[in-house]
């Protein structure tokens, strides 16, 4: 078991999801940028430019490694080969943080490259807790688990997502990565209150916050259907929800995620500056 609060290693300032096209800008004009997040799987090759760049970046910035492929919510056993690759990455890079998702992506040895949902039951709780313990034992440190974007509900769920996450932190000692955009997307899609979700969230376990953009659509009944796309600027209601959250939990490492239709550095810089102002407001 690990203590999630021990080792708060990412600084409580803005970070950004690293994209190779911004390498020079980040090195030359970081502004208030205090740390970087990389997707674990992109750095699991044997060598070449990606690994060399990451080594350079790590000399300058604290790095958060964010996995998208462990399938922690999967029904099957975790992929031993993938765990070994993760262990190797964590051991040579020694990042400030490692995080993954409350989701599944692999079934019967096939990986579907998406974060797929799971129902919240005592059975899935047991399974996810055991997978988290296995990950933490493998990498020798606590991990953060991220709340998903939800589009639909399972009739079999017997507990709320926040209760499920709270139980996981108690049983595994893991910390949480609170994605405020995901909270807004899920609450809109499931017709619940995003503030009530934050109120019920175990904020003491939060080691990092994510902010990103989403797409807007409608379902067949005309109800809004928001889709987590990481392809746009963060919208104002999500910034407001961030302020609401920070007022309750204080400054946290705060990541701007922009993974598709990635803009010029100047556009990302504006998002980073706004994240910095939101943090400054709550720090003062």
């Amino acid at each position: 078991m690990f203590d999630a609060i021990q080792n708060p290693t990412l600084p409580p300032c803005p970070g950004v999801g690293y994209k190779a096209q911004h390498y020079r800008d980040i090195m030359d004009h970081p502004g208030p940028l205090g740390w970087l997040e990389v997707h674990a799987e992109n750095y699991m090759g044997d060598g070449g430019r990606p690994i060399a760049q990451l080594r350079h970046l790590a000399e300058r910035f604290p790095i958060s490694v964010h996995g998208v492929g462990l399938s922690i919510g999967g029904e099957g056993a975790l992929d031993g080969d993938h765990l070994a690759r993760l262990k190797h990455l964590i051991s040579w890079l020694n990042p400030a943080s490692f995080s993954e998702h409350l989701a599944w992506s692999t079934h019967d040895s096939h990986f579907y490259n998406d974060l797929l949902p799971l129902p919240y039951t005592t059975q899935t709780l047991d399974r996810v807790a055991s997978h988290i313990n296995q990950v933490q034992d493998t990498i020798g440190r606590p991990m953060l688990l991220e709340n998903p974007s939800s589009y639909l509900a399972f009739t079999e769920s017997t507990m709320s997502e926040t209760d499920f996450l709270h139980a996981l932190t108690r049983r595994t000692g893991c910390g949480l990565l609170l994605d405020v955009n995901n909270v807004f997307v899920s609450a809109t899609n499931l017709k619940t209150s995003p503030q009530a979700y934050i109120d019920a969230f175990p904020l003491a376990a939060v080691g990092e916050i994510h902010l990103g953009g989403h797409d807007e659509d409608e379902d067949e009944t005309g109800a809004p259907l928001l889709i987590d796309s990481h392809g746009k600027a963060v919208v104002d209601p999500v910034w407001s929800l961030l302020d609401y959250t920070l007022a309750k939990c204080g400054p946290k490492p705060l990541l701007i995620e922009w993974d598709t239709d990635v803009p010029e550095w100047t556009v990302l810089s504006e998002e980073i500056a706004r994240a910095d102002r939101a943090l400054a407001m709550v720090a003062s």
Partner: protein, 245 residues
């Protein structure tokens, strides 16, 4: 009602199938358009990865055709690992069997080049030896040695003009391909893989060296179109020899 991940996955990959019972929208109604988010994410995510991996194949068959073909490929060959940078390893065999591309006989070899470029980009770094280490050896000693070839080095041989076709689709004023067999070596000096035209005998020689043959053995099994000096010169110039053993 338990929704197994097997049922979820099956419905996700088949847009014509019903959404599994037990998945609802917040009003308690069947959540078909909401389930489509996952169908779409998976298909688009995997298609995008294939487009990124095979830009030349895509250019040769056209965007629309490639997109439709990717939809078939991703259902027949979903990724086996979460390393999306290597997704598409089964593409050459798929292109050879897929009815609409069977007449493009050179396509599988173009896909092999694109896969090799990908693998070369992510291959382990390896420090090359100095050319003198090899040229200093006496001819007899030379024939008995083996060369460790850098992991980023690959060869592709074809009955078709694959180098010319590749160039014609990646360089603005490349010459028009002429029908003939061609082979290429992919190597990485620094961080960017490069493509080098070689003949079939050179390709066989480099493949044999990678497998641990001595220089003498590669000559013994080659015909007289092998210019060993030229092959070694190319390997050394591209930093592809990392050890003499």
């Amino acid at each position: 009602m338990t929704v197994t991940q097997a049922a979820f996955k099956a419905a996700m990959l088949d847009p014509m199938s019903a959404v599994p019972t037990g998945i609802l929208n917040p009003d308690g109604k069947p959540a078909s358009k909401r389930f489509d988010v996952y169908r779409n994410n998976v298909a688009v995510g995997l298609s995008d990865a294939l487009e990124a991996a095979f830009p030349v194949v895509r250019k040769l068959v056209g965007d629309e055709f490639f997109r439709a073909m990717a939809g078939v490929y991703l259902r027949q060959h979903p990724p086996k690992t979460p390393l999306m940078m290597f997704y598409g390893d089964a593409m050459p065999g798929f292109l050879a069997r897929f009815k609409p591309t069977q007449s493009f006989s050179y396509l599988p070899d173009i896909a092999r080049i694109e896969l090799a470029m990908r693998h070369a980009y992510h291959a382990a770094d390896a420090a090359p030896i100095a050319a003198e280490a090899l040229t200093a050896l006496a001819p007899d000693a030379l024939m008995g040695v083996r060369l460790r070839i850098a992991p980023a080095t690959h060869v592709v041989s074809s009955n078709y003009p694959i180098h010319a076709i590749y160039r014609a689709n990646t360089e603005p004023s490349a010459p028009k391909p002429v029908m003939r067999p061609e082979a290429v070596m992919i190597a990485r000096k620094g961080f960017d893989p490069t493509l080098h035209p070689i003949n079939g005998a050179a390709a066989n020689c480099i493949a044999a060296l990678k497998d641990g043959a001595t220089l003498g053995q590669t000559i013994a099994s080659a015909d007289d179109s092998l210019d060993l000096g030229a092959v070694l010169g190319l390997l050394l110039a591209q930093g592809a020899v990392t050890e003499i053993y």
